[in-house]
Symmetry: C2
Subunit: 149 residues, 2 copies
Amino acid sequence: MGIGEDIKQSKFKSELSKAIINILYTNSWLSQKQVLLFKPYGLTTPQFNVLRILRGQHPKPATINLLIERMLDKSSNASRIVDKLESKGLVARRQCPNDRRAVDVIITSQGLDLLARTDLDMDRWEDGLVSLSEEEARQLNVLLDKLRA
Amino acid sequence: MGIGEDIKQSKFKSELSKAIINILYTNSWLSQKQVLLFKPYGLTTPQFNVLRILRGQHPKPATINLLIERMLDKSSNASRIVDKLESKGLVARRQCPNDRRAVDVIITSQGLDLLARTDLDMDRWEDGLVSLSEEEARQLNVLLDKLRA
DNA sequence: TTAATTTAAATGTCGTTACATTAAATGTAG
DNA sequence: CTACATTTAATGTAACGACATTTAAATTAA
C-alpha cells in the first residue's frame, strides 16, 4: 500500500514533499514494530539503542558524550537513560580516570546477555522484511544519504 | 555524508538493517528541522499535522477518530492536541449532529490564516532540499512503500 | 597562581506521550 | 423494551522528552 492510501491523502505538492511525509510515516511504522519487539525485554527503544552502542564499544567504555553523539535521536537524555539501565543492572558507571568530569559507562554481562537474546528477535524481524532486495536497500540508503546532503 | 559517518558506525549487518537505521536517523534529522520551522508559529509538529488534516477536510468537519486515523504518529493523543489548538482559537469543536458521542472539529479562519503563513516557510524549506531530483524522490517513495508492504 | 571560560554530566521543570480508565451514546441480542 | 456490548471521546497517571540550570572539573588567560 502506497503512502497515499495509508494516510488517505490523494495528492501531494511534489514527489519530494510526498517523500518527506513518507519518511516520517515509515519511521512511525518501523518504530511501532520496534517498541513491540523490545517490550518483552522491558526495554524502551532509546534504552536498546544505548545498549547497542555500548556493546559496539565493549570492552571499552563510553562516556555520556559519546552516547549522545551516536544516538539516533540526539534530543533524548542520555544521562537518564543510563540511570534506567544502571538500575536494571545492564550497565555500570565508573568515574573516568583521565577526566574526572566524565563518566565511563560499560555494558555488564547481564546487558550483553539481554542483547544477545534480543538479537534473535531482531534478526527474525528484519528477515521478515523481505520486501526489499539487497540492491533496493542499497539504493534506498543512497537516496536517504543524498536527501540529507 | 552517509549514515555510516553520521552515527560513526562502520559496518552494518546488511543493506537492509542499514536502511532501517537510515530511515530512523533521517526521520530524526527531518523532525528536528520541522520543529524549528513550526516554533515561530507556536505550534508543535503534531499540532501542525492536525491543522493540515483539518484544512484538507475544510469546510467539512473531522471527528477525533478521523484525526487519529490520518495522523502520522498514531500514538499521540488527538483529543489533547485539539484542546491545545482550541485554546489558541485555531480550531473549534461542535457536537456531531448524527452521533452525539462524536465531536466535529473544524479549522477556524484564524487556523487557516496561520497555516497559510506557514505554507510559505514550508515551501521555502522544501525548495531548500534540492539534493534530490523529482525522479529520485519518486524512486524513494517507491522503495519506502515497498519496504512497508 | 588565580580568575574566568569551557566542558561533562546531572538535575529541576514543565509539557507531552503512552496507556489505562471512565463516561456517555449507540448498537445489538434476547 | 431491557440488558449487555461496543464505540467515541475525554481524563488520570506515570514515565519520558525538551530545555534550562547547576555542579564539578579541566582548560585557558592574565
